[in-house]
């Protein structure tokens, strides 16, 4: 599969873009960062853009009557345009900046769920969701009498599409909300098919792209969904910024979520009139410096090329499937056909938490636990959680090999 990686993708050079990767860790060991699925490291370009914003072009945005504020407004809106282009959205006004993807999904649950859906309708999620795509719908269910349905996941860790169709059949589902890529199984879900099925049954579709948008080119026009979200810090950008995309017609219908400055056009004590989209959903001072950082992150991955990133990752995934399958006593969670660089596993001899502590000593940063996907772990009978290794564009095959060797040795340690 190596041939899929274009010659231009030089992982050694890419690693030099990330200052933290050359920071010596405890006892001089290099950092082997295999937790990018939780949050990715930041390239120099992102750090520099944020610094430049703060050192030369910072002011609050909008309403600014002076040059510096216009500059800041332009930077902020340029980030919106870049985000729209990154997702191939039809209109930059369809991009709402939130604080993370959790807020994006809560926004939809509040504003679409409480403002547009009606009691008796259902939301259909799946067993492989992150808590961010479970809890807001539970709150909606308990608050407003919206039914919550859960699509099954097969033993291979894929969405059970028959079950999805069954659960859509009665036409009560108003919204299907599923991950574009699982943060535990690595599974990439068949988004076009989901959209076709859902729309055929009168349901809108939200994809939680928190993981997927990092690993693949997302083309919203091709996918055809209604809502999409992702989060800046996993895309090599800063914390404090997330993205909700929604069709303009949906945003127009939705009541606002947070109230405050910048989201109204007229305020009296009796009544406020909402501003136009997207301002309606961006109350208060937005994440200005973070938008600049996110813009730089988008430019960074776009310059490398999402297809090249995807190809690099595919070859890493194939490599990891081989290397991990040779670790004795290791059970991999999920074996989806279409998957990204996230591997959760259980090792017979060691509790995930003990294992993570051991690996940390070898300089390998992996996460232990249930990765904000408790129901999924329950589904697979793994209440102790799993250990998870997740890749970024800077991950190398050597790191994957080191992980496999360390796992083998860890098993000896605990046996």
């Amino acid at each position: 599969m190596d041939t899929l990686t274009p010659a231009t993708f030089d992982v050694a050079r890419i690693r030099q873009d990330f200052p933290i990767l050359s920071q010596p860790q405890a006892r001089g060991r290099p950092l082997v960062f295999l937790d990018s699925g939780a949050s990715a490291q930041k390239p120099r370009a992102v750090i520099d853009a944020m610094v430049r914003c703060m050192e030369t072009a910072y002011a609050n945005v909008h309403r600014g009557a002076y040059r510096l504020s216009e500059l800041a407004t332009d930077s902020y809106e340029a980030a919106r345009t870049a985000t729209a282009r990154f997702l191939n959205a039809a209109d930059a006004r369809e991009i709402v900046f939130t604080k993370n993807s959790t807020e994006a999904m809560n926004l939809v649950a509040h504003s679409w769920g409480r403002g547009v859906m009606t009691p008796g309708q259902a939301v259909l999620i799946s067993e492989l969701e992150h808590h961010a795509n479970i809890v807001p719908w539970q709150m909606l269910r308990d608050d407003k009498g919206i039914e919550l349905r859960v699509c099954r996941v097969t033993d291979a860790g894929e969405l059970d599409m028959d079950d999805l169709e069954r659960k859509l059949a009665d036409g009560k589902v108003g919204l299907v909300a599923v991950a574009h890529m699982s943060n535990v199984l690595g599974t990439v879900t068949p988004v076009e098919r989901i959209v076709a099925l859902a729309h055929a049954h009168g349901a809108k579709v939200l994809f939680d792209g928190s993981q997927a948008a990092v690993h693949r080119r997302v083309d919203l026009q091709a996918i055809g969904c209604d809502f999409y979200c992702f989060t800046g810090h996993k895309l090599y950008g800063p914390t404090g910024i997330g993205v909700l995309w929604a069709r303009l017609e949906h945003l127009d219908r939705m009541p606002p979520f947070l109230g405050g400055g910048d989201m109204i056009s007229v305020v009296t004590f009796e009544k406020s009139e909402w501003a136009a989209v997207p301002a309606k959903f961006e109350a208060g001072t937005p994440p200005i410096i973070e938008a600049v950082g996110l813009h730089a992150a988008i430019d960074y991955v776009t310059a490398i090329g999402m297809p090249a990133i995807e190809a690099h990752e595919r070859s890493l995934v194939d490599h990891a499937m081989g290397a991990l399958s040779e670790v004795p006593g290791l059970t991999l969670l999920g074996r989806a056909q279409d998957r990204g660089g996230v591997f959760a596993f259980a090792l017979d001899a060691a509790h995930p938490h003990d294992l993570a502590t051991l690996l940390d000593r070898a300089g390998i940063a992996v996460r232990a636990g249930r990765h904000c996907a408790e129901p999924l772990h329950a589904r697979f009978g793994l209440d102790n959680g799993t250990t998870r290794a997740s890749f970024g564009l800077y991950t190398t095959k050597e790191e994957v090999d080191l992980l496999a060797r360390a796992l083998t040795e860890a098993r000896e340690f605990f046996k």
Binding site: D354, A362, R370
Partner: protein
Amino acid sequence: MSGLFDDLRDLYQEVILDHGRKPRNFRRLEDADATARGDNPMCGDRIELFLKMTPDHHIAEAAFQGRGCAISTASASLMTEVVKGKTADEAKDLGAKFRELAMTGTCPDCGAALQDDMERLAPLSGVHEFPSRVKCATLAWHTLNAALDGTKEASSE
């Protein structure tokens, strides 16, 4: 590669690995006088603790069930051994001292009276170098307090 984890023998001493693999008093006491559940929501560790008391208010027997990492399992296992024969106050005092040990690696004011018990628990002192693991070691002791106080639930967040 060999020896990659050698320096972790401080944390995972043989005693810990042994108690982790084969916890002592790992069973339900059907006729317990006090019970409590302890949760560590962050990592999913969970124990259920059972105590039987003597007529004169000493711990006659302690047992536990649950799931957890080697450290939390070993800590619970060792605890059920050392608290036997102690009064509630003695056991709680020992727990407080142990928590100090787990957090700092030492317990300057443990005194001679506790010396034997603290020596039994000493293998767990290595956790103080791993802040995120301290709560694994202390979960059982939080749960013991809950059982003795009758609050039924403990959390080591």
